[in-house]
């Protein structure tokens, strides 16, 4: 079987086929690389939301005419930080936060260390995604909540976040996929995972088949995240009238 496969690939002019087949059939190593690809971005997404969610909320409620207006100076500082961090290309940002990674984790290499630059890059992105979701909120509903005597905190926790839930879930899906992509890129600089595999074996050692397999696994991962995210968002949205859906089909 593998003899035939090797001959087939070699007949196409692909080099180092036995080596590549050996890597791909070593399930343990491949699975570990997939795990590395997933866990660093997953952690980073979590941390990015811990920073980006409150930040996004502040960007919406803190503006003039918002639910809890904040000093103009503070708002423009926050906006500037978000814009600055978002305009630095990720590869450069990774290099720039090396001292920060050392400070927090004691090292700047390895998969775990990529969590720091991923979080720094993703937090402002998440803040904007949250901001976009919350801005979809109907002003009238907020006004009604104010008329009922809601405090700004209650408006955020009991009105804005629950009412924007489907959109926030879509944003989180988007964030997770983007961070997964950044994570693969981080493989280039000292990280592990499929990104590193594709780059080092595929590009560095001319292992074309490995590169394609790595990319296909990444595509499948993205598909899975997107499908789960979309399904969850749709399922949680109570605006979708069941009788209407029935009529449409």
């Amino acid at each position: 079987m593998s003899e035939a496969l090797i001959n087939l690939f070699e007949s196409w002019g692909i080099a180092k086929v036995p080596e590549q087949i050996a890597y791909l059939s070593d399930f343990g190593t491949l699975a570990f690389n997939v795990w590395e690809t997933v866990y660093a971005p997953a952690l980073a997404t979590l941390f990015a939301y811990m920073i980006g969610l409150p930040l996004g909320i502040i960007l919406v409620i803190g503006e003039t005419g918002g639910v809890r207006p904040m000093p103009k100076a503070l708002m423009s500082v926050l906006n500037t930080i978000v814009n600055l961090l978002r305009s630095v290309p990720f590869l450069i940002l990774m290099v720039m936060v090396v001292p920060l990674s050392r400070l927090i984790l004691g090292t700047s290499v390895g998969t775990a260390a990529t969590v720091v630059p991923l979080t720094v890059a993703a937090a402002p992105y998440v803040a904007r995604l949250v901001e976009i979701s919350l801005r979809e909120m109907d002003r009238g509903v907020i006004e009604a909540a104010q008329a009922m005597g809601c405090s700004p905190w209650q408006i955020v926790t009991k009105v804005m976040l629950p009412e924007c839930r489907p959109s926030l879930i879509n944003g989180a899906t988007n964030a997770a996929i983007t961070i997964l992509g950044y994570g693969a890129m981080a493989g280039a600089i000292g990280g592990g995972g499929l990104g590193a595999v594709a780059l080092m074996r595929g590009h560095g050692r001319n292992q074309i088949i490995v590169m394609y397999v790595a990319v296909i696994i990444l595509v499948i991962l993205v598909q899975i995240i997107q499908s789960i995210g979309t399904a969850w968002s749709v399922k949680s949205d109570r605006r979708i009238n069941p009788t209407e859906t029935k009529r449409r089909t």
Binding site: G140, E143, A147, M148, C150, E163, R165, R238
Partner: protein, 339 residues
Amino acid sequence: MSESIIQIQHLSKTFGDGTEAVHALEDINLDIRQGEIFGIIGLSGAGKSTLVRCMNLLERPTAGTVTVDGQNMTALSERELRAARRKITMIFQGFNLLMQRTCLKNVCFPMEIGSVPAAQAQKRAKELLELVGLGDKAQAYPAQLSGGQKQRVAIARALATEPKVLLCDEATSALDPTTTISILNLLKDLNRQLGVTVVVITHQMSVIEEICSRVAILDGGSVVEMGDVQEIFSNPTTDAARRLVYPGGVVPAQFPASTRVIRISFNGGTAYDPLIASLAIDCGVKVNILGADTRNVGGKAIGTMLLGLPEDSNEAAKALNYIQAQKNITVEEVPDYHE
């Protein structure tokens, strides 16, 4: 005379400043009595919404005072204001329900905010949904309801904190005439049953005529006329009032002096075409339609119409008697329209 629940004194509201200042309200004085249904009517941009928003301090007045149930609202801190707002609740043109919550949870919402125990809140919410005729929709989501049903849920929600005053900002403007009538009847019933004072903001005459006892006419940010609905409607003295009372911008002063003019209000009865036709057939009298602002839905008419009666006084009396005998129609003669 019952005591007043809302007192507004020398209220002004200006948006912006300098050359861009918009004087939305100027020196408003109002006294709304406990237990009445008070109407505020005006054309678009007259300042109606700004005025109601000043009543619960969603908008802070530039000058003047607002007293609700003996409490000077303008003097309260944000925190005290939030507590005071539980006594003066509001419903809106756009319903403003929480779309991700069931109807029951929507009605529970103000009680949740006021830390009412969940079990007690649910019990009261169920009762309120029954009261507005939606006992069977407790577990439905707002997206599954019609406009009229949504407004009923909003009304139940507004009543959850046992308010003294219910403010209705164009609460029926997004509804069709039949549903409008049913919501207005509900407000009337609630006013009678619970004694809640209702403030109705609208640009539709028919709404005021249907449920209000007194009305203030707002024009360009000022109250230009105020008093009993019947008085104001039968004898509007300002241009702004006439524009609202007479349909389609008709100016009665331009009618021939010999014509008697009557104003008919349709309150959801038969449509106006059959009325005019049957007037001709049954009485042999032809009347002149000078202006009409009626909407016809499912054979029911809502709105007003101005008719010029025949010059012959016998025929005029005959026509008037005939129209007065109709159901769901109120008739008034337009007096002294030639100044």
